[in-house]
């Protein structure tokens, strides 16, 4: 390895519980649910009538003309990136050393479907000329790259619900491999539309707790019945350590390692043995030069599905061994819902805040902890983390059997 260290110098987010990082983080510590009943007429036609829409509509954060040329996922990417870039002090730098890696699980799916409706109702001539740049999955990254004039490379790894974490890992490698000094990284998703919802519902992946939307996302609860679809995005500014120091940047923490693996098991179901997850944890710790003893917190993938939460918890228990006893596990999807390709990104933002404030966010809605869950879950209220050097993990998994583990540590 090059010896180039990577730190986080900026954060941005727009989530179901806040229009920026500060608001989202406060709401998270307060245990606020961002899940609500959908008011759209189409919601009545499917079995799931709730989701976690962003707390602040993009129309309150962007100009009208900009909005109409951007897919909602691209709007989230620009909103979060602008906040993150400003938070990083808007670095003056050689743009040939600036990269962007922003992912999405399913790209501009609402644009695709809405324009198909236009075609069917009004004909081909009225299909918007902006359709392709709006629906392409690399659109969020491309628009951010264009705005910041990034010239080191703009990339979009796609691995379903692991996409956001994979993007951050890719950005981390770009800096370590000396392709860039600063990379804007993260993930976004904007898929709250009747078709994706009907499709996830057809897989029996979504909770159908229509009478109690705010209680529906309940990772680790005995009566969990599926995930809640969320939308939004998170962005982290990753920067080479010496570059950040030289410009006097505020440094939140270090990103120290990543571990990647794939299950080779099933297109959607998690491997109940969790071997792939265990390998990803092992690779990540080895990459970071840390051991299980160093880990004090983990922001879990835990989406509130019956199979996924236990498979993950078992894999973590096996990977961390006895040291799992001192790892405070938070399942923040209990509040934000599941942002698919944005999940690993907003959860990484939350980990950075966790390390900064030494407070692990709560997991809400656990009425009866599933006895099969053998990790130490932070319930109901935030938990203080130790002073001194600490490290935390983010794990993200995606349909297709993708496993990504990122390691963050205090600096």
């Amino acid at each position: 390895m090059s010896g180039r260290r990577v730190v986080v110098t900026g954060l941005g987010a727009t989530t179901p519980i806040g229009g920026d990082v500060g608001t989202s983080w406060s709401a998270l510590l307060a245990g606020t649910s961002g899940v609500r009943t959908l008011t759209e007429e189409w919601a009545q036609s499917i079995s799931v009538q709730f989701a976690a829409r962003v707390a602040v509509e993009p129309s309150e954060q962007m100009e009208r003309v900009e909005l109409r040329r951007l897919d909602r996922s691209e709007q989230f990417a620009l909103i979060a990136s602008r906040e993150a870039w400003k938070d990083a002090g808007s670095p003056e730098m050689d743009k040939e050393r600036l990269g962007v890696v922003i992912a999405s699980g399913i790209g501009g799916v609402t644009t695709l479907l809405d324009q198909y409706d236009v075609y069917k109702e009004k004909g081909a001539r009225l299909v918007s000329p902006h359709t392709v740049p709006m629906l392409m999955p690399n659109g969020p990254a491309a628009n951010v790259g264009l705005e910041l004039q990034a010239r080191a490379g703009v990339h979009t790894p796609v691995s379903a619900c692991a996409s956001g974490a994979e993007a951050i890992g890719y950005a981390f490698d770009m800096i370590r491999n000396d392709r860039a000094d600063v990379v804007v990284s993260g993930g976004v998703e904007a898929a709250i539309h009747v078709l994706p919802m009907a499709a996830f519902a057809a897989m029996k992946a979504l909770s159908t707790r229509n009478d109690e939307p705010a209680r529906a996302s309940r990772p680790y609860d005995l009566n969990r019945d599926g995930f809640v679809l969320g939308e939004g995005g998170g962005v982290l500014i990753l920067e080479e350590y010496e570059h950040a120091k030289a410009r006097g940047a505020k440094i939140y923490c270090e990103i120290a390692g990543q571990g990647l693996s794939s299950d080779g098991y099933h297109i959607a179901a998690p491997d109940p043995e969790g071997a792939g997850v265990q390998r990803a944890v092992k690779f990540a710790l080895r990459d970071a030069g840390l051991t299980t003893k160093d880990i004090v917190h983990l922001n879990a993938h835990a989406t509130s599905t019956p199979a996924g939460d236990v498979a993950e918890a078992n894999a973590l228990r096996l990977a961390l061994g006895k040291d799992a006893d001192h790892v405070a596990v938070s399942a923040t999807k209990s509040m934000t819902g599941h942002l698919l390709g944005g999940a690993g990104a907003i959860e990484s933002v939350f980990i950075v805040k966790t390390i900064q404030d030494r407070l692990a966010p709560p997991t809400i809605n656990i009425e009866n902890l599933d006895p099969a869950v053998t990790v130490d879950v932070v319930r109901d209220k935030p938990r203080a983390l130790p002073a001194g050097d600490i490290a935390a993990l983010n794990d993200s998994f995606g349909f297709g059997g993708h496993n990504v583990v990122l390691v963050f540590k205090s600096i």
């Binding site: 009208r64 003309v65 001539r125 009225l126 000329p129 902006h130």
Partner: protein, 82 residues
């Protein structure tokens, strides 16, 4: 149906404001779509389609490249509607 130049200009101003966010007050006959109003090639397609719908005229693709200024578009539409 004949269209008055002033009516076409007024309609076109509304379309360009809607599509490109240019305040209608700054849109005049001598303004260049690309250089003065920053209407890019994709947005120009939107302007053309919206103008066709609004004025009930056909603006063929090969004619669009000649519509350099707002005045060019107004004249084209007025002539096409005669």
């Amino acid at each position: 149906m004949a269209l008055a130049q002033a009516d076409v200009l007024a309609g076109l101003k509304e379309i360009v404001e809607e599509v490109a966010g240019i305040p209608a007050a700054s849109i005049e006959l001598d303004k260049n779509f690309t250089e003065d109003l920053e209407v890019d090639s994709l947005s120009m397609v939107e302007v053309v389609v919206a103008a066709e719908e609004r004025f009930g005229v056909k603006i063929p693709d090969e004619a669009v490249t000649d519509l350099v200024t707002v005045g060019d578009a107004v004249n084209f539409i007025v002539n096409a509607a005669k």
